[in-house]
């Protein structure tokens, strides 16, 4: 069942077309990856899918409900959550508070209740704290609850952002380069986490450069190049697609190609 349908999506910045007429379908419960060389428009795409950028043209529909053009907080209310390539952790809060903030949509916001700290509010706080602790445990940050985010290492912060995004109880989770800047061990941990989330039924859309992770974890891959969809398919189909190889590595010069063929002959 298609969870998110994207049609004719375009984004221009002045004269620069970052995304040009992209159609996508994201199936519920699967892990989708978006790959492509730098500058292909991956982050612009994610920014539009999370409502941060307004598309220049096209539609974004979550289960048939049109979202394009709405402010970002409505995308979140509809069930789309995301992490950021350049960390956007709340450094002025502790790890627990970061994740609790993710529960915003499930909490009541009466100003009077907040000011007076009513019993109902206190119950809500206890519940949020419990959920947040649970999520920190899920991403492996148990025991870091009261650590200020600005004192945590990079790898932990990447996982913290995932926990915070999960706190919104999303239908669709967008992960923008979750393994960027991580060493092999940390990347494997993210890998395992993503697989666990996928098994739990969360629909995941992943933007990544780490090919090992992508191939390992994805049910479906979309390749972007210069703002357009180059191809899409299963990991096997995509990795052997000549256009993909060319986009990443460039076409070999004819003379060199002959030499290479001669060498292999």
């Amino acid at each position: 069942m298609t969870l998110l349908a994207v049609q004719g999506l375009s984004k221009s910045f002045g004269g620069l077309k970052a995304i040009d007429g992209v159609d996508l379908r994201f199936e519920q419960g699967s892990v989708h990856s978006i790959i492509g060389p730098n500058g292909a428009g991956k982050t612009s795409l994610i920014n539009m899918l999370s409502g941060i950028y307004r598309p220049s043209a096209g539609s974004i529909a979550l289960e048939g409900r049109e979202l394009a053009g709405q402010p970002a907080h409505r995308f979140a209310a509809a069930g789309i959550a995301r992490t950021f390539q350049n960390l956007q952790v709340f450094f002025n809060m502790t790890a627990l508070e970061n994740v609790m903030t993710g529960r915003h949509l499930r909490e009541r916001h009466s100003l009077a209740a907040a000011l007076l700290r009513t019993p109902a509010l206190q119950r809500g706080e206890a519940e949020s704290r419990r959920c947040a602790r649970e999520l920190l445990r899920l991403v492996g940050l148990c025991g870091q609850e009261d650590t200020r985010a600005d004192a945590m290492p990079y790898g932990a912060l990447k996982r913290l952002e995932i926990a915070r995004a999960l706190a919104t109880e999303p239908r669709l989770l967008l992960l923008d380069e979750p393994a960027a800047g991580l060493n092999a061990t940390e990347a494997r941990e993210i890998d395992t986490l993503i697989q666990r989330l996928a098994q739990g039924g969360t629909t995941i859309v992943l933007v990544e450069h780490n090919m090992a992770l992508v191939m390992e974890v994805s049910d479906h891959i979309v390749v972007l190049d210069h703002g357009r969809k180059l191809t899409e398919g299963t990991p096997e189909e995509v990795s052997s697609h000549p256009g993909v190889i060319e986009a990443y590595l460039g076409a070999a010069e004819p003379a060199l190609q002959d030499q290479a063929e001669a060498a292999h002959a």
Partner: protein
């Protein structure tokens, strides 16, 4: 939840409860307010204490806006003065009893802040500073110019607060009123910070983009805290007016707005107690300096510069850091 180590023999849960700012800190402040009269030698000292309390109320609200929500306002004196003038005008021109004109003034200023806040808070950084500065200056000029309503540059008389048929006058009584208000404001502010609304505010300071992706309607929360801080300023302004018996446009100037921001920054951003300390120090200091008469402004400026150079994070957070990593 920050938990400072205490050297008490009390059982662990009680110790933890005392260590939390909301409970222990508020209790400490309440005790201070209750016991301070023992140390206040004369009416003049009471007067200063009252000023400190009222300034602290404004600063707590302003701190929520600047320190927690990460916005800026260089025009809050405008709300302070408007609160005073609104209550004074309602009471003297329209015969509204003061216990009614006080909340009335807050409501009027709150409404104005809500209306002006919507376009203003779409701005960030320097444009926001400039817009709030402009609003404050326009309010200040309007108050000075519309002398039929406000008495112009010389100000106007303000009727006293009358409760249960008795005029509330005298330093002692006002001390208790403003002291209680201060403790209540501190308690409310601390509650707010540790709530979904508070986290929304801190989130939009931490990363507005990320906050949006968590479903936080940033514009709504900015407006909420702006309006709240304006109403607190108005309340303090109105009480100041009824306590002093008169009000002048000097309360609305850019200089006064700047003084308020300095109190907040000096005491420490994102710290309710920092706001109180900042208000206290910045209110008392000029009083100590009046002895220096002609040198007052110079010395005040020099002290300000020296303090910000030495304590760039503000007084309370820097001191807290020195006392060993107590989290904010």
């Amino acid at each position: 939840m920050p938990a400072a180590a205490t050297v008490s023999e009390a059982p662990a849960p009680a110790r933890a409860w005392l260590a939390r700012p909301r409970s222990g800190g508020t209790l400490l402040l309440a005790a201070l307010v209750a016991l301070a009269p023992l140390a206040l030698p004369n009416n003049y000292a009471y007067e200063i204490a009252i000023q400190v309390a009222l300034n602290a109320v404004v600063c707590i609200g302003l701190n929520l806006l600047i320190g927690y929500a990460g916005q800026i306002s260089l025009g809050h004196a405008g709300f302070f003065a408007l609160g005073g003038y609104a209550s004074a005008i309602l009471a003297s021109r329209y015969g509204v009893p003061v216990w009614l004109s006080l909340p009335g003034a807050c409501a009027v200023v709150g409404l104005l802040a809500w209306l002006l806040g919507r376009p203003t808070l779409r701005l960030k950084g320097h444009p926001l500073a400039m817009a709030t500065l402009g609003l404050g200056v326009i309010i200040s000029i309007a108050i000075t110019t519309e002398d039929r309503w406000t008495g112009g540059p010389d100000g106007m008389q303000v009727p006293p607060l009358v409760l249960f048929g008795l005029a509330v006058q005298g330093e002692q009584v006002w001390y208790w009123i403003t002291g209680a208000l201060l403790v209540a404001t501190v308690w409310l502010a601390l509650n707010l910070i540790d709530s979904p609304n508070g986290r929304a505010l801190r989130a939009l300071h931490g990363s507005e983009v990320a906050a949006q992706t968590l479903g936080i309607d940033c514009a709504r929360f900015k407006l909420q805290v702006f309006t709240l801080s304006a109403m607190l300023a108005a309340l303090a302004g109105a009480l100041t007016a009824h306590y002093a018996g008169f009000i002048t446009p000097a309360k609305a100037t850019f200089l006064h707005s700047v003084e308020l921001v300095i109190m907040v920054v000096f005491g420490g951003m994102a710290s309710v107690f920092g706001a109180v300390v900042g208000a206290a120090v910045m209110t008392v200091l000029p009083q100590l300096l009046t002895a220096l008469k002609d040198y007052e402004m110079m010395v005040f400026g020099a002290v300000l510069v020296a303090t910000m150079v030495l304590f760039p994070q503000g007084l309370v957070p820097t001191l807290a850091r020195w006392w060993g990593g107590r989290p904010q």
